[in-house]
Amino acid sequence: MSQDTHAEHHDVIAEIKKVTIILSVLTIVELILGFWMIGITSEGLRLAIKGVIVILMMAKAFYIVAYFMHLKHELKNLIMTIVVPLALFIWFIIAFLADGNSFKNLRNNYDPYFKEQATIKAEKKEHGAHGATPSSHEKGASNEGEHKTKEGHK
């Protein structure tokens, strides 16, 4: 009995070590991708990297739930009652994001004011300045301002 639990103890510790390393590596890869993305301007490539990051995120979530939360070692009954309802998120996400995107397109097509807003350059701000002025309340000002800075283009 005590030998059993002893062996079990080592297995568990080994597993925790393994998962810790996997999680760290996944996070580091995510961060590397994040740093890499800073210099990239191609929209397609950025999207691809973001896709990879999301996949890595799901992998991390899997390891946390399966090993740290011990779900992988529970009975299949429990695993199924947890995992199956989570499938609801698929349609939850797709429908919300698709309609959000559609709302943007609708407004860009039919609301000239909305579209115009998206082309107004913000005035360059001194970062770190205390009490910087909120941007959302001064659209009138930036509308008239002819001295808009063009540095925003990259």
């Binding site: 973001k50 995120m57 946390i64 740290f68 939360m69 009954n77 429990l78 947890i82 941007s135």
Partner: protein, 228 residues
């Protein structure tokens, strides 16, 4: 009470009644379903964030927003560095929590106390980091309804970037805070030998589930706000 010998001969028939089909006590079933429910709360927040972001033309670049570091000189450009430290703090505290749960299963009171203390320290460290970051952003002029950052393409940004950032990280921080409180209560109960008297450390397991869930949510929050 159920007869142990008959129960073991009908091992496969989990659903026959008279016992848990999951072989766990009801508290853990409740905790799992509570976490599912909480997952929908956070899910709804993050999906709302995604929806608004998808319905807006421009969005700030996180690397230009989250680029500061405590004690570093003003104007330092260190994107992702501070948040990666926060992420590692939370991962490490999750690991110590697993170790505490495991020590509990082994009925190792000293182990439980040691790892619980580390977990609590990790939680407080994370909260401190978050407090610093919030404070820093507030000084830069960011708050609910105020967004000093411009979009990645240089156009004027709406305030929803900061609105969602503060709401969701705030809600997550609130969860971390309550997790720390729960862990402190668990630590006190362990020190008072409550679990030794009960003969099991199941409460630690449930607190552990909650703590890992908080870590899990951070995985999503971190990705959505700092990387994507």
């Amino acid at each position: 009470m159920s007869n142990v010998t008959t129960a073991s001969t009908k091992e496969a028939k989990w659903w026959n009644g008279g016992k848990s089909p999951f072989d766990v006590e009801y508290g853990k079933v409740m905790m799992w379903y509570f976490l599912m429910s909480d997952a929908f709360t956070f899910g709804a927040f993050l999906i709302s964030y995604g929806t608004v972001r998808f319905s807006t033309n421009g969005w700030p670049d996180p690397n230009l927003v989250f680029k500061s570091f405590p004690f570093a000189p003003e104007g330092v450009n260190a994107p992702l560095v501070f948040v990666s430290i926060m992420t590692f703090i939370l991962i490490v505290s999750s690991v110590t929590m697993v170790l505490a749960v495991h020590a509990g299963k082994m009925m190792d009171k000293k182990g439980v106390v040691k790892y619980m203390i580390w977990t609590i320290i990790g939680g407080i460290a994370f909260l401190s980091c978050q407090a610093w970051e919030w404070n820093h952003l507030h000084h830069e002029g960011a708050w609910w309804g105020r967004n000093p950052f411009m979009n990645a393409d240089g156009t004027a940004s709406t305030s929803n970037f900061t609105n969602f950032f503060f709401t969701i990280t705030g809600f997550h921080g609130f969860h971390v805070f309550s997790g720390v409180v729960i862990n402190i209560v668990m630590l006190i109960m362990t020190l008072m030998d409550k679990f030794e008297q009960r003969g099991h450390y199941l409460m630690i397991e449930k607190a552990g589930l909650y703590w890992h869930f908080v870590d899990l949510v951070w995985v999503f929050v971190f990705t959505c706000f700092y990387l994507l």
